[in-house]
Amino acid sequence: MATEVATVELEERAKRAESRRGVLIGAPAFLYLILFFALPLLIVLVYSFASRSSTGATILGNWNLNSWIRVFDSQVAQIAWRSLWLASLTTVFCLVFGYPFAYWIATRSDRARGVLLILVMIPFWSNFLVRTYAIRFLMGVEGPVSIVSQALGGEPIRILFTNTAILIGMVYGYIPFMILPLYAALERMDWRLVEAARDLYAPGWTAFKKVTFPLSMPGVVAGSVLVFIPSLGAYVIPAILGGSNTVLLGDYIVSQFLSARNWPFGSALSTAVMIVMLAATIFYFRRGGRTL
């Protein structure tokens, strides 16, 4: 008969062996991420305190807070505000059109749902650049819509290179990211609760407001995060659809590394943007969601 101490030790040893095995199995991945993700993150942080020579080269010495001070500069604030505004509008539009869409699919028959979903998946999985280009093509002054409107006796359309174009492009690009989590949440929901609400005399809209919508909240949160975050840091869409006078965060950061050659400032900017997004994600999920 084993004594208590010996048995407890053995149980502990078994647990520790399990732990070790778990770490070993994941080690290749964790090590890779530490080397190629955590370390780069740190390097960017370090660079944000570095200084810049007159020729644009980075000096890893002469540590200072200049870049960070500049992050809170009014010019940056303007750009940040513009990006935030655009990202928020994008998220709202995606929600406004995406929620009814997801709800509609979720309330179709089983067979119809399968087909409708595939039809959403196709744009979702299609190449993102190509989709953006398609909108660019459509909206151009020499594009098909223009030709048509001119043929009808009107003006060529001049949406391209405006904020509106960017907004349309972002909604076009990101709305599948809103629809899919919303659909998943609505599909998973227990619809008998809505029936119960109806049984308790709630009219259709009230049942939706008080039962369906709150229950689909995890989907709303997930979808909003999946749209807001990329929209905030968007580079490709504004680059293709926006004008040179509208500077958004994504392009502003990129230019620090290409044209303006101010790597410390660019590092500070990207770190700041990342912190804001991290905070927003944590906040969103604490409020209304589950884990991704």
Partner: protein
């Protein structure tokens, strides 16, 4: 096989943090026995089963199977197989691959595997579904395959974790009979976990009642039912009347209504006891009827009458906090009573159970 009982637990305890899920359990299960662990949810019966299977290790205590210490062996090294509550059939394998799995792991020759799998599938009458997937089977069929998958390995002990819980009543009842017959034929020791006391009573050779991690009483179904040794066991199995009383003398107890009953206890005067009386052991007599001398009697008034088809259940107010429930068979010769009738509740002294706590 070494000597010793099929399964023996000595002082086995399993703690999760501060909580003892299994608390100093001492248990001995004999070869070929159909032993049930019975108790409410969270009583530790499933944890005990998992300790025997090897999915948990005891915090301390000794666990032997046929005399060999197994407490800390991993599950794949124990001569024990489990039928899970959710069946845990491998969804991506056919029925015959599921059943053959254990034998394949033991590197049994494939000819022998085919033969044994075929035989056990015949035993559960599912040979014709050998190539189907679990998802194509009904609940009852899946249950039988889970059983087959465990049995084909001819384990020294078979563990069953509430295997019939997901089935509807009629199916459950027929499966209970089938399982009992199967066990008798195959002769393997079964340890069966359930919260359904009827199941335990009808199927088991012996029952172990658990509550809060402790094993309260072990015995044959009749002795557990008719002679519970604790309030919990008395109340958990079947209907019971629990009447508080104080010992007034060696042959006398006094109820809260002041009435005395001549019941012998071997306890000191002044101690509190509980009388545990099965409703079917109580009889109702008219106040002016002749009552056998030795019967203990409690006069009262009928306050409720329920008709169950095969029996009447009466609630009789006898001046205590709760009415006493009496079960009378519904057949000619047994008098029936109406609401408000005066009646005397009587019972033979041998039907009295005195329990502490």
């Amino acid at each position: 096989m070494a000597g010793g009982p099929a399964v023996e637990l000595v002082n086995v305890t399993k703690r999760f943090g501060d909580v003892s899920a299994v608390d100093e359990v001492n248990l001995s299960v004999g070869d070929g026995e159909f032993f049930s662990l019975l108790g409410p949810s969270g009583c530790g019966k499933t944890t005990t089963l998992r300790l025997i299977a090897g999915f948990e290790y005891p915090t301390y205590g000794s666990l032997t199977i046929h005399g060999a210490e197994m407490g800390l062996l991993p599950p794949n090294e124990r001569p024990v197989n489990t039928v899970f509550q959710s069946y845990a059939l491998f969804p991506h394998m056919s029925v015959e691959d599921n059943v053959a799995f254990g034998l394949q792991m033991k590197k049994v020759a494939s000819a022998e595997i085919s033969e044994r799998v075929g035989r056990v599938l015949d035993q559960v009458q599912l040979r014709h579904r050998a190539t189907s997937r679990p998802s194509q089977l009904s609940g009852g069929q899946r249950q039988r395959i889970a059983l087959a998958r465990a049995l084909v390995n001819e384990p020294e002990v078979l563990l069953l974790d509430e295997p019939l819980g997901a089935l509807d009543l009629k199916l459950r009842q027929s499966m209970q009979v089938e399982l009992k017959d199967l066990q008798a034929r195959v002769g393997i020791t079964f340890i069966y976990v359930t919260h359904d006391q009827e199941e335990a009573l009808t199927m088991s050779d012996r029952i172990g009642v658990m509550d809060n991690g402790r094993l309260l009483q072990v015995g044959e179904p009749a002795s557990i039912y008719e002679h519970p040794t604790s309030r919990f066991v008395a109340g958990f199995i079947g209907d019971i009347n629990l009447i508080e009383a104080k010992v007034a003398g060696p042959d006398e107890v006094q109820l809260s209504s002041g009435r005395s009953l001549s019941i012998s206890t071997r306890m000191a005067p002044g101690s509190s006891v509980t009388l545990a009386l099965r409703p079917e052991r109580l009889e109702l007599y008219d106040p002016d009827e002749a009552i056998p001398d030795n019967h203990i009697r409690l006069p009262g008034k009928v306050s409720r009458k329920l008709y169950y088809g095969d029996a009447f259940y009466y609630d009789v107010e006898v001046g205590l906090e709760h009415p006493v429930e009496v079960k009378e068979e519904n057949r000619p010769g047994v008098e029936t009573y109406e609401l408000g009738d005066q009646a005397v509740v009587c019972w033979d002294p041998s039907s009295t159970n005195v329990v502490k706590d």
